[in-house]
Symmetry: C2
Subunit: 262 residues, 2 copies
Amino acid sequence: MKYGRFEQQGRVFFGIVEGDAVQELEGSIFDSYSKTTKRHALADLKILTPCMPYNFYCAGLNYLAHFEWASKRKGIERKPPTKADIGYRSPNALCATGETIIIPADSPGPVQYEGELVAVIGRKAKKLSEADALSCVLGYTLGNDLSERGWQASDRTLWRGKNCDTFKPMGPFIVPGLDPMNLTISVRMNGEQVSEYSTSKMLFSAQHYISQISQYMTLWPGDVVWLGTDNPTLPDLKGGDVCEIIQQDIGVLSNPVIRAKE
Amino acid sequence: MKYGRFEQQGRVFFGIVEGDAVQELEGSIFDSYSKTTKRHALADLKILTPCMPYNFYCAGLNYLAHFEWASKRKGIERKPPTKADIGYRSPNALCATGETIIIPADSPGPVQYEGELVAVIGRKAKKLSEADALSCVLGYTLGNDLSERGWQASDRTLWRGKNCDTFKPMGPFIVPGLDPMNLTISVRMNGEQVSEYSTSKMLFSAQHYISQISQYMTLWPGDVVWLGTDNPTLPDLKGGDVCEIIQQDIGVLSNPVIRAKE
């Protein structure tokens, strides 16, 4: 089962993806829906981000190899996080598969990808135990946590470093029933694989993060929890590149890159 | 003119507040609306947060007296911010005037108020000059940027320190046409004034923040920009308190406080 959100001639709807076809749904996958008899060729539809979250959670440092590489790059000695302190991103930055990542003209660079697994919340939840945490998850999608490393270092917050328009590709689809702790995520740049890692290496599990968040915050349908990335995130992105985040059940989140002229 | 968002028997609508009465609107103040002939007594309606933002911006340190007091409290020497690097809060934490602020049972404390002016975005905007920045603002409301200082110090991010459920009271109404750089904001605890400051003392003006954000991020109708607080934020909040943020044109954002038992 794969859920998606689509646009056709200005009309927005959810659908179930079956191979190259989409069965249109009436209603919302985050509330209630029924299947319609309308079927579309996937190629005839614009794929949108599969949801528009109100609360956009993101685990900043959740894999050891990425943490150690990032620390070395910054020339700092530090210990890995000892607690699942969740971070935030902002919905303005979301874009769908196929949409163009725009590097701002004044970006000092480097700009780098971070391919991530994303848990999509399906029902309102609070104070979940770790054992029960995944019960509120509708399914999983992919995210690319684009990072402007120059601004990440120079600014007091992550605003431009992480949240410029188009810096958060998410999609293509939401797949229920996966084990978030046993998936292989890979990244391709211009058709060549540049990173591959297993989600089994998370420092704090999806279950732990979701349970922790829910102790203090109500989770709402459509909220997303981005679960961090592993490995160095090289090579740097430049105009003309195509960056793809891949997981075999969810599909390919593919985005071309340009650099703005002004 | 004062806009508000209201609920009556499960029905949610925008309205224009005129003294003790509310004229119901059809449509959205963030899109298009028309006046209806329905009038309600304000006392018969539940006042909601005046909007539900997708992007929730918050200036962290935007007044010198608060900055110096906070630095001293933390025992650190630091220079005031030299750039308008915007921070974020999360919509789960929003609550309306009259709703109860709930301090989590395991809060180490202290928990403190921060009374703030809030700019509410009314139209989609990008790359605004500082001179033109306020053209995208629908109006102004008030916010209480509740802060759990223990968690603010102990956590790697501001998740629990700033974003627990109910930690972001906002409202009561949105007032267009105010000069955001010349307002008096005051705070009352249990009926007694504990802080008063002028927004003229912002380190970075509302115009500057909004222009800066818009260089990299599309501003969307309903987004909010909280503009920081001045002064020490004492006394600490405790169960049984009532905390009020006041500006004479916008009104009173009033919230009782309890401490959760578990």
